[in-house]
């Protein structure tokens, strides 16, 4: 008996769907890494330290450290554009929060917290 193999139309459709999903997933990752920037406000050093201590009770708080250069000497918070991978790292330690105004603000200055606040 001839034992040749065929791909049924249903499986060909599934293969097309898989290729589309892989392309969409890869495109989303590439765009997130290379082109998706999110504006984050970095408060002046004093404000950031008191904010971090006040909002995460019981959490190990890093010792006070100098604010990053962008925030030093600024009257209000400085705006930084962070890549999405950087923001992912920030959320893993509770390093950012959304303000009532809709802006995203860092909850610390200097070295990031080492633990998730939840």
């Amino acid at each position: 008996m001839a034992n040749h193999e065929v791909a049924s139309p249903a499986w060909r459709g599934r293969g097309t769907g898989v290729v589309l999903l892989i392309l969409m997933g890869a495109a989303a990752i590439v765009y997130a890494v290379t082109g998706h920037g999110i504006t984050v406000l970095v408060p002046p050093a004093k404000t950031a330290e008191s904010s971090a201590q006040g909002e995460t009770p019981g959490q190990a708080v890093e010792p006070p450290s100098p604010a990053p250069p962008q925030a030093v000497g600024a009257e209000g918070p400085a705006a930084l554009v962070e890549s999405e991978p950087a923001l992912v790292r920030e959320v893993t330690v509770g390093g950012v929060k959304r303000l009532a105004s809709g802006d995203i603000q860092r909850t610390y200055s200097g070295q990031a917290p080492s633990q998730c606040p939840t």
Binding site: I22, G25, A28, I29, V88, K97, C116
Partner: protein
């Protein structure tokens, strides 16, 4: 008359017997043995980044936090679509560390209950309400923000910190009472139910469940070999009828049903054998000279 060639093995197929070792190997990957702490990369499994031994960021934690920030998490979505499109539900059964923990506890010989089939859809309520809606409308400070009730976070992050503080003889940083109660209930349920977290609550399993009918690797029932004997239904630990619902979102690809030769693992590269058209005779092989 068509000869029935279906067979039902008493032991899982060879590939399925490797599952526990594959899970253990993946556990090593997620537990960050080289202390890389790549928390700017989303992992594809349910493993809390509060755990000091976490290589990647938890995709559900990222989805919830980005929802609270009102930012679309393209990195997490892209990772889940890419991995789900290739592996589908095999991620849950073969790679997830929290699923592995549930599998290990379930090996303790205690009678197991079977949940009604509709309970598998509660995971979508968890995904929509706790992971997306509450963070979006109330922010990360809400007591029902997903990470604040997640048992994986309590176990892998909270209890680790308690143990570490106990070793140092410092004050014990106990997680909140609701978190401890939820963890206690889930762990207790692991003894009497196969993968209770996955079956009832896991939002990541809910997402990967959506890919089961479109993933590159999948399970398939041969309709010509299946005689609807329902033995595969008795083998399934999650209340699925594999012969009727082979792409069911609740399936974690444990491969118990593949004891039946009518059910097999296929990929989009697999090929069906051509069947002779009705009314035709199969081509005879040439006679030996």
């Amino acid at each position: 008359m068509v000869a029935m060639t279906r067979t039902f093995s008493k032991t899982p197929p060879k590939f399925a017997r490797w599952r526990v070792w594959v899970q253990a190997a993946f556990l090593l990957v997620w537990l960050d043995p080289f202390m890389l702490r790549l928390h700017n990369v989303c992992g594809p499994v349910f493993h809390c980044y509060a755990c000091p031994l976490a290589t990647f960021a938890c995709p559900i934690g990222v989805l919830a936090n980005f929802s609270a920030l009102h930012v679309i998490p393209l990195l997490a979505i892209g990772t889940l679509v890419l991995v789900g499109g290739i592996f589908g539900g095999f991620v849950c059964g073969w790679a997830c560390p929290f699923g592995f923990l549930q599998d290990l506890i379930a090996r303790i010989p205690v009678p197991k209950f079977h949940l009604p089939s509709w309970t598998g859809y509660t995971r979508y309520a968890v995904l929509v309400v706790l992971v997306l809606a509450i963070p979006f409308f109330y922010g990360e400070a809400h007591p029902l923000f997903f990470c604040r009730v997640c048992p994986a976070g309590t176990l892998e992050g909270g209890m680790y910190n308690v143990a570490a503080a106990a070793v140092k003889r410092a004050d014990l940083p106990w997680p909140s009472l609701p978190k401890l109660i939820i963890l206690g209930l889930i762990v207790a349920a692991m003894f009497v139910q196969w993968r209770p977290w996955c079956a009832l609550f896991c939002p990541l399993g809910a997402i990967f469940g959506l890919f089961k009918r479109v993933s590159a690797i999948f399970l398939r029932v041969d309709p010509e070999e299946c005689v609807s004997c329902s033995l595969c239904r008795e083998e399934c630990r999650y209340g699925i009828a594999p012969d009727k619902q082979i792409g069911d979102p609740r399936c974690v690809a444990c491969l118990q049903c593949t004891r039946c030769s009518a059910i097999s693992i296929r990929t989009i590269f697999s090929r069906d054998e051509a069947k002779p058209a009705p009314g035709t005779t199969p081509a005879a092989s040439p006679p030996a000279q």
